[in-house]
Symmetry: C2
Subunit: 211 residues, 2 copies
Amino acid sequence: MQRIIKLKEPIPASGKGKRASDVYRIAAEIMCQKGYEGTSMNDIAEAAGMTKAGIYHYIRGKEELLFKIMTYAMDNLDQRIIAPAQEVADPEKRLRAIVECHTRSLLEGVGAITIVLEEMPALAVAHRRVIKARKRAYFDFIRQTLQELKSEGKLRDINPTTATFSLLGMILWISRWYRRDGNLAAEEVLRDYVDIAKNVVLKTDKAASKR
Amino acid sequence: MQRIIKLKEPIPASGKGKRASDVYRIAAEIMCQKGYEGTSMNDIAEAAGMTKAGIYHYIRGKEELLFKIMTYAMDNLDQRIIAPAQEVADPEKRLRAIVECHTRSLLEGVGAITIVLEEMPALAVAHRRVIKARKRAYFDFIRQTLQELKSEGKLRDINPTTATFSLLGMILWISRWYRRDGNLAAEEVLRDYVDIAKNVVLKTDKAASKR
């Protein structure tokens, strides 16, 4: 049960895709520091070590940049969390895979990008609709997993919707508090989170009988 | 264990204090919709049904208003959560009191004010220091409670710091998702949260023996 969970390097990317993802990450960090409204395209160009013309090669304006960062975040979520977890038939193991992958990606330092995902009011209406639907799909994926656990009699006596929000809250909050240069090792936090999530959701007797 | 937990009315206040707290609440809601930077003093005056001169009777400017909202939020936290919980000697019961009171206050609709508490970069340095210290004191109060549970052998095998952040994350997230006009009754969410928090923190055998 106490096996070490290896952490991978931050989101891998290369070539032109890597340059774009660097810009998204830098822009997200500045938006977290200064707030979305308080951030100018100049700030972003300067931090990315590019000219303003260079930055406009990637994006047309601040709202589009915000939408691109969010799209990038949701693409990563799809590829790194949802797709692998969908391969796991057993809901108990699938839940573990979701919690492990999502927690890991936040510990690896996509925190600013996750926080920027909350800047929904700044999006144009059509963009907001797209991101909202993708967030909703992720929520439903977790909730469906808890529903399956309920059908199997493994879910504790809690509402699956409330439980899903609890899990997401504790996981997403990592981007607000975890410091990679702080006292807590990522491996230790990851192990505790997987353990905590299991206890939030699963009946104790069932969990115990699995050990 | 399944006793109904009664919800009180939103933060009670009256007279001039009530008017000020109304302004804080309205301002917080607008800041959540438009972002702090995107909100003008005009927007706030309009939403509060006051003249701009009227609003300047309460506050000198937007940064001071933000600081006052945060001070108001932390005063409420002190009065409604920390002070009553400090009276509870037993750490298990104290933790329950903290989770119950904090969850309740978010379900009662101080959500916008809680979200605005995250606008730390917008504060002047001296103000930021004050709010940061108060948040830290609350964090330490919860963490200390978990440390006491650990001394009593009741804490599960998790790091008390990580566990504190998990609890705070799931509780604070309520302000992002809970809708008072939605499908979930506040009483039901409150009961589930108290139950979930217990399972996050306490060893199962101890918890079971208490039933």
